[in-house]
Amino acid sequence: MESVIELDALSVRLGGRDILKALDGKLTGRAIGLLGPNGAGKTTLLHTLLGFHPASSGTARVFGHDIRSEARVVRGLLGYMPERDAFIAGMTGVHFVRLMAEISGLPSREALERSHEAMFYVGLGEARYRKVESYSMGMKQLAKLAQGLVHGPRLLFLDEPTNGLDPPARRRMLKLIRDLREGGETHLIFSSHLLRDVEECCDEVLILRDGQVAAYCDLEQERRANKKFLELEIRGEAAPFMSSVSALGVECAQHSPRRLKMVLQNGMEVSDLYRIASEQRIQLRQVTYKQDSLEDIFLKAMDPGADVGETRQPSPRTGDDHGRL
């Protein structure tokens, strides 16, 4: 799989403080979440990849291009939606986005065409001739997104894209981000405090703590793994049912006469359980996937006792671990 970002002992020192401490890792996902508490180094990492801050040691590569020796090439591949309000005063939305497209190297005509398209794409088509400073908070966020993708980047950095948005605007922004991911035309790095937003939009998560990688998690694999861990509420004789499913290689444990926990093996589906239950005249009253939420993973990574640099390798669980790390 093509690597999007490779971190190679990347360290950044700013204002006499070590902000990023020898980050290592390889990110390959279509949408990569960047999580961490305030001051963890999320924004500094994005800024370093963009060339805003110099690396004090180590380096990173974006699509194989070194950020130190090929900074201009790297920036040519990127789009950036900054966290803070950022716009050019006195310009209409479409002119602002067009200017940004031309700065990225698009010829004037193509820049104009794509700036109109970008404004429509983000939902600002009707407001594209209004001055940017007259936009509401949500509209400014969308205009920032439009300028970030007008030049067709291979990788888009979204720094807290849902900050300050009301619920409808937030839903709209998340839908756009999911559309971008599912379109498959661009990769995304989504930096946020909001676990739910990241969980909704990303398939990989890098959690930073105190400038170090606290955890890495492939959410896609995690979701697939979660589907194998089930809680069942049954009515009827549990023992024959358990022995039947165990014969198919399913790990199974009984917590009460009516409640079972089981881990499905590869190649086995929930429909097989229904079939066996039907054959044995057992009622399945409730089947629940035991979810290991991103919040669990995040809290574990933030645990002061936990070692930083943990890489979560998704693996089949046993009935004892209750789906937790």
Partner: protein, 293 residues
């Protein structure tokens, strides 16, 4: 990202030459600068003096007018006004001061708004450097100031040369003086204008700061020279005033003398040092993000 499909697609078309990409900035910024009617009016006013000078050159080289003038003022037959260094020094000084006022009005709008609205990360996250950003901004000022300094003055120089045969051969050095004198002054004005615009992020305050800087430093230099203990042959305090330094250079270039001044080399050195300070300040301020220590 077609409008009708509402889907995102990457761009794979042609790209512009990276070496000329900085010209995108003046393309957009010039529209912004000329949006102000007040600025436009002032810009037009800046051409009145060269226009008047062109008319004067034509009259002074017109035999019918000269005869009428001699009859009117009862001057002798040998009366004739010769246009030389003094005439062009006066024009240069007037246009130089107008150029300074134009910078005070135009320069703060160029960078202050970008910095106040955090636009720099948007520029610098693209294949576009800080140098190109500054170059793009300075090109606007250089073009505006050129339009009211060396371009009309060189036109007047050539016009006068076309009226009197052999005049260019005798006064050819004025052409170089116009180019060098204007060039140095517009570079200084542009650098100071951008440095102040990058430092003071509020437009009216930036304009006031620029105004204060030029006139306060000039007044201070004159005041120091006027003090009993400092009254000496060379007013060295002038090196702290860009206006006085530039006047000293112009006096030397146009071979004119209007009272005591610092040597031309000291004026040039002072102005270059000021440009250096402005460059350092631009280097500090034109960044995507400032690191707070």
């Amino acid at each position: 990202m077609a409008v009708y499909e509402h889907t995102y697609r990457r761009y794979s078309g042609p790209r512009t030459d990276p070496r000329s990409r900085f010209l995108v900035i003046p393309k957009y910024a010039t529209k912004e600068v000329f949006r102000s009617k007040l600025f436009l009016a002032f810009f037009v006013l800046c051409f009145l003096v060269p226009l008047g000078a062109a008319v004067a050159i034509w009259f002074l080289n017109n035999s019918t007018f000269l005869e009428y003038f001699r009859a009117l003022f009862r001057t002798g037959e040998d009366f004739r006004l010769t246009l030389g260094g003094g005439f062009f020094f006066t024009l240069m000084s007037i246009q130089g001061i107008l150029a300074m006022l134009l910078t005070i009005v135009a320069a703060p709008a160029l960078m202050a708004a970008d910095l106040r609205n955090n636009a720099l990360p948007l520029y610098l996250s693209r294949p576009f450097s800080r140098t190109e950003y500054v170059l793009g901004k300075i090109v606007i000022l250089l073009a505006l100031l050129s339009a009211i300094t060396w371009i009309p003055l060189c036109f007047l120089f050539l016009f006068q040369g076309s009226q009197v045969s052999g005049w260019i051969g005798e006064y050819g050095w004025i052409g170089w003086s116009l180019l060098v004198g204007s060039g140095l002054w517009i570079v200084v004005l542009s650098m100071v204008g951008l440095a102040v615009s990058a430092t003071v992020r509020w437009k009216p305050i930036a304009s006031l700061t620029l105004f204060g800087f030029y006139f306060f430093s000039w007044s201070l230099a004159k005041m120091v020279y006027g003090l009993p203990g400092f009254r000496q042959a060379t007013p060295w305090a002038d090196v702290f005033s860009p206006i006085s330094s530039m006047l000293a250079v112009w006096q030397s270039l146009f071979r004119e003398s209007f009272g005591p001044s610092i040597p031309a080399w000291a004026g040039v050195a002072a102005l270059l040092a000021l440009c250096g300070v402005c460059l350092i300040q631009l280097g500090r301020k034109v960044r995507a993000y400032e690191v707070i220590k």
